[in-house]
């Protein structure tokens, strides 16, 4: 391969966007060409520096402002209002009475439904908030200790078997060093009144705890993000397991980890 052609391919070579054949050809060229290998090393180094130091962190208050704007916008959107039957009343007292009774029944039913919905929502919310508190506490506790892990290994095949016999399920442990989330290790923790698995990953200097336990409800739940005391908590359910990922890492990177797990 000539230098000129190789240079055109250096960038997609670094980005993993070449076919296997092209990739081999570029790699072979780099073996023998100092100028091109200097260039590709520079690109790699500059790229790594950008990845590490290029991000401009969003101000903490921005998220709250965006959410406030969105809430106002959602409120301003016209929502269909259900009007209780307002048919013209025909002559006859019994007719009128029956109509009133029916309306009263509808209103009573609506009241009961609303009360039930409130009770259910409050119950679920309270439970959810307690879990958030527990997850946050477990995360902070892990940071305060000398080591956040009981089994230290960057190898998923060491960490996963460690849980066997210690937890009543097999937590998801993945080797994500290639994606920028090196595995640190695992430990057991106590969240929501039960023993849970905690798998620890790293992103640059940020520590991420991923808590897992068997789900109470079958079915999947889409990821949901909350922020507590400056930490991002992302929770989702998949394959009968509830996941809680928590870190001081930015929400975008945390969401990326979610897609990888």
């Amino acid at each position: 391969m000539q230098c000129e052609r190789a240079r055109e391919l250096l960038s997609p070579y670094l980005d993993g966007e070449l076919s296997a054949e092209e990739r081999r050809a570029v790699a072979a060229h780099l073996e023998g060409c100092r100028a091109c290998s200097v260039e590709v090393n520079d690109f790699r180094r500059i790229g790594a520096t950008l990845a590490e130091a290029g991000r401009e962190p969003a101000p903490k208050a921005l998220s709250a402002r965006v959410r406030a704007n969105l809430a106002r916008e959602a409120e301003a959107q016209p929502t269909p209002i259900t009007v209780l039957a307002a048919k013209p009343v025909r002559a006859g007292a019994s007719h009128l009475l029956r109509g009133l009774m029916r309306q009263a029944a509808v209103i009573a039913a609506a009241c009961v439904l609303s009360a039930l919905a409130t009770w259910w929502t409050m119950g679920t919310l309270g439970q959810q908030q307690r879990l958030e508190q527990d997850v946050l506490a477990a995360h902070v506790r892990s940071l305060l200790q000398d080591s956040p892990i009981q089994v230290a290994s960057s190898d998923a095949h060491t960490v996963k078997p460690w849980f066997a016999g210690r937890a009543d399920f097999s937590p998801e442990v993945k080797d994500l060093a290639g994606e920028g989330f090196p595995l640190v290790g695992g430990r057991l923790d106590y969240v929501g009144g039960r023993r849970v698995g905690a798998v620890v990953y790293k992103r640059r200097l940020h520590l991420i705890n991923v808590f897992m336990w068997p789900s109470a409800n079958p079915g999947e739940a889409a990821p949901r993000l909350v922020t507590r005391k400056g930490y991002n908590l992302l929770t989702w359910s998949r394959g009968g397991i509830d996941f809680w990922a928590i870190s001081d890492l930015n929400a975008g990177d945390l969401a990326q980890l979610q897609t990888l797990l």
């Binding site: 240079r7 055109e8 250096l10 960038s11 997609p12 980005d15 966007e17 100092r34 100028a35 200097v38 260039e39 090393n41 520079d42 690109f43 180094r45 500059i46 790229g47 520096t49 950008l50 990845a51 590490e52 130091a53 290029g54 991000r55 401009e56 962190p57 969003a58 101000p59 921005l62 998220s63 402002r65 965006v66 959410r67 704007n69 969105l70 809430a71 916008e73 959602a74 959107q77 929502t79 920028g180 889409a222 990821p223 949901r224 993000l225 992302l234 930015n250 929400a251 975008g252 990177d253 945390l254 969401a255 990326q256 897609t259």
Partner: protein, 184 residues
């Protein structure tokens, strides 16, 4: 029924990426904040048209459009020199590539100044190069996603990244030469 909760779950985790793209495009913190707020409102209004899948490229395309609209307004108002103009003055003087015996950029990029140099160099690039580099190197988007954000074909993304990396390296060399003319 508004789909606000659904929108928030998908879109809020992208806020760091949205802000990062906005600030690299307009180079002003308060303006980037305004742009993110406006872009999120626009995205929410257009959420019905989101076809599912990864929301990031879809959302970042809206952030990018909002930023460019803002940039063109600023240029029309004529109070600020655009980055392209600033770049046009300084570029082209160091068009020659590094001679093979000179220390490589890698060898010189050691020490605390490294990050600062790279950031300054990126800020000097024209927006078309800057945005693909931000999306690729910082946000780690695939070529296909970058194509969706910037509204150009994948082939164009590839050539812009190629040229962008070359330009970035060139500007970096120039900045370092200027600061350390006697560097060995």
């Amino acid at each position: 029924m508004s789909s606000l909760p659904q929108f928030e779950v998908l879109a809020l985790p992208c806020m760091e990426a949205a802000f990062n793209l906005a600030i690299w495009l307009v180079r002003s913190r308060p303006d980037a904040e305004d742009i993110v707020q406006e872009a999120y409102l626009r995205a929410f209004r257009a959420f019905g048209g989101f076809r599912g899948g990864d929301i990031r490229p879809w959302l970042l395309a809206i952030v990018r459009n909002t930023a460019y609209r803002w940039l063109s307004n600023r240029r029309r108002s004529g109070t600020v020199i655009s980055l392209e103009e600033a770049f046009a003055d300084g570029s082209g003087q160091n068009a020659d590539d590094l001679a093979a015996d000179e220390p490589t950029v890698e060898e010189r990029l050691i020490g605390a100044a490294e990050r600062d140099y790279v950031r300054r160099a990126l800020a000097e690039l024209p927006p078309a190069f800057r945005e693909v580099l931000v999306l690729r190197e910082i946000e780690d988007l695939s070529y296909r996603d970058i194509a969706e954000v910037t509204g150009v074909p994948v082939g164009t993304v590839m050539s812009r990244l190629s040229r962008g990396r070359g330009e970035l390296r060139k500007v970096l060399t120039r900045l370092m030469d200027k600061d350390e003319p006697n560097a060995m």
